[in-house]
């Protein structure tokens, strides 16, 4: 018995040291990564914006001058911007728009981030399983993905929200349900590459279980895809959430930027010319999406250093243009070619 306790104590101690080391390493690695992002102008802009938005979201009650849920200010309806109300108040209920803007960041950011992370988890799990196990697991998962990709999302979302009620959790559930499919395909193809690499073969020879190979070799190998997808899908989800809320399918009790836009429309801001009420939620959405996109692009540069400097779209366009001119030139006969070259020379001399 004494021996058992000794052993158990030793085990706990060893586990504690090992996990502390791992945690320390993870923190250091994350710090390194943030530093790499900070070194790039794109990443720096994104990080600063994101930090500001996070501060807004976390300390909303401290920053916001009024309670945005307070709809009883009948005397303060439809005010123009002033020092007291930087963005005025709403026409219908007299809520302070600036406070609503700050509180709105909570819903938008949290839905974007939570869905992004959940999507990354499920996409990674399904993609690795399909790619590594193969056979019927692969077939089943990929057919499910195919089906999910062709289902039109918006009508189904309308049906689901009507069936199960409009709530914060429901929106996250729906976006996650449809978000993981694209990522899982990318992860699967990367897994197929890693699966045939020699270090996986060596681990298999040493008797490694499938679990070991998936966790130790394949998951770290696809992690850059996951981090990137979290940043980029978060941005996409925030826009989608705004769209849903605008259509009146969002959480009716929370204040979000999309719902603010819906109120702009129903409250008659256009009629009264209250442009500040229209622009405010738009700026919020723009800043959040812009921050995530900047970070996503900077991550792409960190993970794939060969593609920095020129954007790939520009390169493709340039190449296409060049190919087109060559094609035209090839189709000319000798006389025309000579004429073309002479013309070009003449233009250059002038």
């Amino acid at each position: 018995m004494e021996n058992f306790w000794k052993k158990a104590g030793k085990g706990i101690k060893a586990f504690g040291i090992a996990s502390w080391k791992k945690i320390k390493k993870a923190i250091l690695g994350f710090g390194d990564f943030i530093k790499k992002l900070w070194m790039r102008p794109k990443g720096r802009v994104g990080l600063i914006l994101l930090a500001l938005l996070f501060i807004c979201a976390v300390f909303a009650p401290v920053i916001a001058p009024f309670d945005p849920y307070d709809v009883t200010q009948r005397a303060a309806k439809g005010l123009s911007p002033s020092w007291e109300h930087p963005l005025g108040t709403t026409i219908t209920t007299g809520q302070d728009i600036f406070s609503m803007l700050i509180y709105g960041s909570r819903v938008s950011l949290s839905i974007g981030l939570i869905t992004g992370i959940l999507t990354a988890f499920i996409g990674a799990f399904m993609g690795i399983l399909a790619g590594y196990i193969g056979s019927w697991v692969d077939t089943v998962i990929m057919r499910v993905v195919d089906v999910m990709l062709v289902i039109p999302t918006l009508p189904l979302t309308i049906v689901l929200t009507n069936l199960f009620g409009k709530s914060y959790g429901m929106i996250i559930f729906i976006f996650t349900l449809f978000g993981w499919t694209g990522l899982s395909r990318v992860v699967r193809s990367q897994t197929l590459v890693l699966k045939n690499s020699n270090y996986v073969k060596a681990a298999e020879l040493a008797g490694a279980s499938r679990m070991h190979i998936m966790m130790r070799h394949i998951l770290p190998g696809v992690s850059h895809l996951l981090i990137m997808s979290t940043a980029l899908t978060s941005a996409g989800i925030m826009v989608a959430e705004a769209g849903l809320s605008f259509l009146g399918l969002g959480d009716p009790t929370a204040i979000s930027w999309g719902k603010m836009l819906a109120e702009v429309q129903s409250g008659g801001a256009m009629l009264f010319g209250h442009w500040w009420w229209i622009i405010a939620p738009g700026i919020g959405i723009f800043l959040a999406v812009f921050a995530f996109m900047r970070i996503g692009v900077a991550m792409e540069e960190v993970f794939n250093p060969r593609m920095k400097q020129t954007s790939s779209v520009y390169k493709i366009f340039k190449n296409l243009n060049g190919a087109y001119i060559e094609e035209v030139f090839d189709s000319m006969d000798e006389k025309e070619k000579l004429g073309y070259i002479e013309e070009k020379e003449r233009v250059r001399h002038e």
Binding site: A18, N198, Y199, A202, A203, L205, A206, G207, A208, R216
Partner: protein, 343 residues
């Protein structure tokens, strides 16, 4: 659990006569399905390895020679249990590798390890040297971190790297050093059988000799058995005791290296050996140049696999598969020229 530091790997006792083979391959065929077969098309298969038998005795270095795509690597992977054969089987230490339960299979496979051709893709770029070399021990389980580190350090010294390299990543090393790391990883479980799949062909010529010498030194110290796959006939001649020449998945000639080099019987072996460069300029050999390309393994010739390119092909070579005959004790040839009357 064994104390690995005080338990050095045992040297195999090798006696010239009557020792059992460590690995024996019996009538091994590996066919892969490729395309076709859906609805109407006839199902096609790549016959990567057909009907190969060989015995590898403890302590020796067995050479496997052949052109690219002739099935050497497939044969080696099947011997390691990575591929399930279509026909035939592999015996390791007298036990059928494909006839045992999963647990025994995993345990048996730990006795066979592999050194890969490309040292750049065989090490996980995210791991450091300690993790790479210590991984097999971690997978097997039952070792503390200190034990693993001590054993890895011991192996690092054995393969000629220094203690300082313990926490470096593969990208910090040259090709030769990476191959040393790969060797250390392969031998950490004290395997009896080591498959070297062209271990030097991806390296600089100046590093060839270093790695080969290291392999020979390890064999002498630890007593491992090697299966040495190579393109380089000069290397095979130097280090192998027995060898097999393969062509298009079939064994052409097999036997003691000395007797094959001295007296090649098969036209293919003769052509291969005539291509080896000699340091002696005055020694002008007759060079046999083969015409054509290696045929597709999807649709190999019905008769002798080599008949289309053979300079001495006869009529019957096209239709009848030659039987394997023993021309000298331990020297086997699959050729109609050796197996009887000429037509």
């Amino acid at each position: 659990m064994a104390d690995i530091q005080n338990n050095p790997p045992l040297a195999q006792e090798v006696d010239e006569k009557g020792n059992l083979p460590l690995v024996s391959v019996r009538n091994l065929s590996v066919h892969f399905p490729v395309g076709g077969g859906f609805l109407f098309g006839k199902k096609k298969t790549v016959k990567a390895v057909s009907d190969i038998s060989l015995d590898i005795y403890p302590g020796e270095t067995y050479g496997l020679v052949g052109e690219s795509g002739c099935g050497k690597s497939t044969l080696a992977n099947t011997m390691l249990g990575m591929i399930t054969p279509t026909e035939g089987t592999v015996y390791f230490k007298g036990k059928d590798l494909f006839g045992v339960d999963k647990k025994t299979f995993t345990e048996m496979r730990r006795g066979m390890q592999m050194i890969f051709q490309d040292p750049y893709s065989s090490l996980n770029p995210r791991f450091d040297v300690l993790q790479i070399i210590g991984e097999p021990l971690k997978i097997r389980g039952g070792y503390t971190d200190e034990e693993i580190e001590a054993r890895v350090l011991e192996l690092l010294r054995l393969v000629g790297l220094s203690d300082k390299d313990l926490h470096r990543h593969p990208s910090d090393f040259s090709g030769g050093q990476r191959q040393r790391i790969g060797i250390a990883r392969a031998i950490i479980l004290n395997p009896d059988f080591l498959v070297c799949d062209e271990p030097v062909s991806a390296l600089d010529v100046s590093v060839h000799a270093q790695i080969l010498n290291l392999l020979m030194k390890l064999q002498k110290e630890i007593g491992m058995t090697y299966l040495f796959i190579s393109h380089n006939l000069a290397v095979v001649k130097t280090i192998c005791t027995h060898m097999t020449v393969m062509y298009l998945g079939k064994m052409m000639e097999s036997g003691k290296t000395e007797s094959i080099y001295k007296n090649p019987m098969h036209p293919y072996t003769q052509a291969l050996l005539s291509a080896v460069l000699d340091i002696d300029v005055d020694n002008k050999k007759e060079r046999t140049i083969l015409k054509g390309d290696i045929p597709s393994p999807i649709d190999p010739p019905i008769g002798c696999r080599f008949c289309q390119r053979c300079p001495k092909a006869m009529e019957k070579c096209k239709y009848i598969q030659p039987e394997t005959v023993e021309v000298e004790p331990g020297h086997f040839v699959a050729c109609h020229l050796c197996s009887g009357e000429r037509v």
